[in-house]
């Protein structure tokens, strides 16, 4: 599919990809600020801020943005992720200009009050309670694993936020965060669907070109040191009644040959009932009913830009010691590290990956395509990278798979997280257990 990519004089990256299959259009604005980089005494701030982007701007008061999209026949959402925060609308295609006008309006500035902030602090506290604190296995493993596996604060703090930090945020902090990060030169605008690119370019120029760029802060150092020893952590979960086990390995650098090989290793090991760990842990040993896993549990292996984990998780019975499960995992993983896999296994993984890529790109009416284009524009200045992904996976050889497994599926590159269920603590005690609260979008 064709891609048009350019930048406005104020630095806004624009990516256009028309597709007339359905009379709908996705408008997505991505800001290059995720939850890794938030003030150290304000965990959860990036996510709380995302909520504030729906609370009012110059021409759209509280609830008016939401109502505008809905009354025009569309749906919308926003989410906070490792390295971006996004806002998007899926609308009938004749409403593209409406969406552009509205997104430009809130890129210019927020018109919000203390009352709005207090309201959304309450909503976000409820969100954390619904998703984590009042939920068995809440935040397992996505919220907890990075806190144990990573050592750099930016990668290892509580992304949902400690409740006290969420409650402590002030309106001036919200406005300062906006001024620092929500500028056109720190953003990408992606449009996918049934539209005319020339008309879209004219509308984008009209609504976005007057927005002033900002001086962006120097990004902090996000790097993680090479892990040299296996780590194991246990969390007590008073709400859970079966144990659970998750394990993570640090990923190779993004876009390296080993990174693409890890994409195929993920397919080989945990994606689908044909996968090696499903066959070993579910079918052969009966330890669990399923094994779930992903590179980047809050998105996919393409939409992040920094250190990342490949994570898999399962629920099991108290009669099975975690050590037995880990031995079975080791047996499968070591077989990949000691000799090249069959070419047929690589071929199957490429087929699964290709099929999965189509799903990723077409997810939610073209939103998936907008997501990848915006990320490749923000992180690599090259959204056309999405067209070369398949060929990168096809380059992976059995030898590269072995080499990648040898370095990255090292036991010493691994963190194991165990959930110890049914501890005697009541719900009230959850905050005390090890000082962690929890986030999602």
């Amino acid at each position: 599919m064709p891609i048009t990519y350019y930048k406005l004089p104020n630095g806004l990256r624009v990516i256009l990809s028309p597709d007339s299959t359905a009379p709908t259009v996705v408008t997505a604005v991505y800001y290059r600020i995720g939850f890794r980089v938030e003030p150290k005494d304000r965990t959860g701030f990036a996510h709380l801020f995302e909520h504030m982007m729906f609370q009012g701007s110059r021409n759209l008061g509280k609830m008016e943005f939401i109502r505008l999209v809905q009354q025009n026949g569309g749906v919308l959402n926003g989410s906070t992720r490792f390295d971006f925060t996004n806002y998007f609308e899926l609308l009938p295609s004749n409403k593209l200009e409406t969406a552009l006008w509205a997104e430009a309006d809130r890129m210019q500035g927020l018109a919000i009050t203390d009352e709005n902030l207090k309201n959304q602090q309450d909503v976000v506290v409820n969100e954390v309670e619904t998703s984590v604190l009042n939920q068995p296995y809440g935040g397992f493993p996505w919220l907890w694993m990075p806190q144990y596996a990573n050592s750099n604060w930016y990668n290892s703090h509580n992304f949902y936020g400690e409740l006290k930090d969420i409650k402590a945020a002030t309106l001036s902090e919200v406005q300062a965060f906006f001024k620092t990060y929500y500028a056109p030169n720190n953003a990408a605008l992606a449009i996918v669907g049934d539209f005319d690119p020339e008309q879209a370019q004219a509308m984008i120029a009209k609504y976005f070109s007057a927005i002033a760029p900002a001086d962006l802060p120097t990004p902090p150092d996000l790097s993680e040191p090479r892990q040299e020893e296996e780590k194991t952590a246990t969390r007590k979960d008073p709400l859970a009644n079966r144990p659970a086990l998750a394990f993570s390995y640090h990923m190779p650098p993004r876009n390296s040959p080993e990174y693409f090989a890890m994409g195929l290793l993920d397919q080989m090991l945990v994606q689908g009932d044909d996968s090696l760990l499903y066959q070993e842990l579910v079918k052969k040993h009966g330890f669990t009913g399923e094994v779930g896993g992903a590179i980047n549990e809050l998105g996919n292996m393409f939409d992040y830009d920094g250190p990342m984990l490949w994570t898999a998780a399962l629920f099991h019975d108290a009669t099975v010691e975690p050590g037995r499960i880990l031995s079975a995992i080791d047996e499968v993983v070591e077989s990949l590290r000691s000799k090249p896999v069959d070419q047929s296994l690589v071929d199957r993984s490429v087929t699964k990956m290709r099929s999965s890529l189509y799903d990723t790109l077409t997810q939610f009416g073209g939103f998936g395509r907008a997501d990848l284009m915006a990320c490749y524009a923000l992180f690599d200045d090259d959204p056309s990278k999405i067209d070369s992904l398949e060929s990168e996976f096809r380059k992976v050889t059995p030898q590269l798979v072995e080499r990648t497994a040898r370095e990255y599926l090292r036991k010493t590159n691994r963190t194991v997280l165990l959930i110890d269920p049914g501890a005697t603590m009541s719900l009230d005690g959850q905050d005390e257990q090890d000082g962690h609260d929890a986030p999602e979008e």
């Binding site: 109502r67 009354q71 018109a111 406005q175 009932d273 066959q279 009913g289």
Partner: protein, 443 residues
């Protein structure tokens, strides 16, 4: 006080040109000699094809002594066919870019997956084999039973599962729809003969509808005819009419220390074939079923009592129920209930403004386009809803017109006629000591 001051009058949002005409994807429908119904929908340019077989067999076919037997049967159906092991099925599906997915629900068990288009006919044949020639091996029964026991135990630790179990149990006493979870001992007692007999009795061509949607390649019709040729016709689903309870009750399930209360408030409403159903749909979207709805605006965006409140109309075959759910902070459990009932009463007393209604009508019209274009599986879900409810396919082609014809007085009438508080089941899971007094007025 606002920190950012903008001067001057507000701009009016640009409206854009009139909408492009929308045409539903065309379908080809036929029935095989053994009664299997087939619907084929060519759609889109992405080289993937969704194949879904819906068999009219599920919880509805379980006796009180057989709760989750349909789930155990579905799990066993994944364990290979008379000619292929489970691993072979999984590997062959993976080589086609697909995966076998089996799900047992209230009225239907579905078998299928989404594969690369090149393999469409071959994928249909593989799915057909899984459905018609399941091995149901006794050797796998203990492991699958242990898996279901684990699932059961985990589900019953979730507050949203508890509230749902009690709600459906109250609405459908003495009916399979109300039996959400089995006892552990019951689940442990199922034998291979139990599942094999469930499969033999309930899985047959006359109870099955195959949908294929997406970018289509190869001779799908020929593959379908070949694949299902020898399958027994069987009888159509026997049906098991349900008479959901319309009576006020307040039920509190204690969850000591819970920081939130999980609320569920609802009652039976007109079924999908009723002329009122689309008007109910509009009423629900305006009241609590959308982000900008009245209840969400009130208890989330105004009061901050909750993160994700929502109402919806749930359906089973030939019946529907309305429900509002919300996870609310413990100390505002009573006030949140007050606001929900306040919004119900307000809509019963006064019709919405024409402008508010028009916004909801446009929303539903837009949503309808999304639901019929967003993916092959979404298209299948729309068609399956219409077919399984015994509606004419014109339900889809006339849906938008009927939504746009709804008047403010209709919305008020739907709320007044159907959302009768004295007929509502109210279930609350929360900290009894802290909320009992708050919700006492709703006894």
């Amino acid at each position: 006080m606002s920190t950012e001051v903008f001067a001057g009058p507000k701009e009016i949002p640009p409206q854009g040109p009139p909408p492009k005409p929308f045409h539903l994807p065309a379908t080809t429908d036929f029935t095989l000699p053994n009664g299997l119904q087939v619907t084929i929908v060519p759609y889109g340019t992405v080289p993937k094809v969704a194949v879904r077989l819906f068999v009219g067999a599920g919880a509805i076919d379980e006796s009180a002594a057989q709760v989750w037997l349909s789930k155990l049967n579905a799990a066993l159906m994944k364990e290979g066919t008379r000619t292929r092991s489970a691993e072979q099925v999984a590997q062959e599906a993976a080589d086609m870019g697909g995966q076998l997915e089996l799900h047992a629900g209230s009225d239907f068990t579905s078998v299928g997956g989404v594969a690369l288009s090149d393999f469409g006919p071959k994928f249909v044949a593989l799915m057909a084999e899984v459905l018609t020639a399941a091995a149901l091996p006794a050797s796998e029964l203990p492991r699958l039973t242990a898996d279901l026991l684990r699932d059961l135990s985990i589900e019953k630790s979730q507050p949203e599962s508890l509230v749902r179990e009690r709600f459906l149990g109250t609405l459908f006493p003495d009916h399979p729809y109300g039996r959400v979870y089995p006892d552990e001992s019951q689940l442990q007692g199922y034998t291979i003969e139990d599942t094999q007999s469930f499969y033999r009795k309930n899985f047959a061509a006359a109870r099955t509808h195959l949908y294929v949607a997406g970018k289509l390649e190869g001779d799908l019709r020929g593959a379908i005819e070949d694949a299902f040729d020898g399958w027994a016709k069987g009888a159509p689903p026997p049906g098991m009419p349900a008479h959901p309870v319309k009576a006020r009750s307040l039920q509190l399930i204690d969850r000591p220390g819970a920081p939130q209360s999980n609320l569920l408030i609802g009652l039976p409403v007109a079924e999908p074939s009723s002329p009122d159903y689309i008007q109910l749909d509009v009423m629900d979207s305006l009241l609590g079923g959308s982000f900008a709805s009245r209840i969400t605006s009130n208890i989330r965006e105004d009061k901050g009592y909750t993160y994700s409140p929502s109402s919806k109309i749930g359906t089973r075959r030939h019946l529907a129920y309305w429900l509002q759910s919300a996870d609310v902070a413990t100390d505002v459990t009573g006030p949140a209930m007050d606001e929900i009932f306040y919004e119900i009463r307000r809509l019963q007393q006064d019709p919405p403004s024409a402008k508010e209604l028009e916004g909801i009508q446009n929303y539903l019209a837009g949503l309808f386009v999304l639901r019929n274009t967003i993916s092959p599986d979404a298209i299948i879900a729309q068609l399956h809803f219409v077919d399984s409810q015994g509606l004419d396919r014109s339900y889809l082609s006339t849906y938008t017109r009927k939504v746009m014809e709804v008047q403010p007085g209709d919305v008020q009438r739907m709320a007044a006629t159907y959302l009768v508080p004295s007929q509502m089941t109210i279930v609350v899971v929360g900290d009894h000591a802290k909320i009992a007094d708050q919700i006492a007025p709703y006894q």
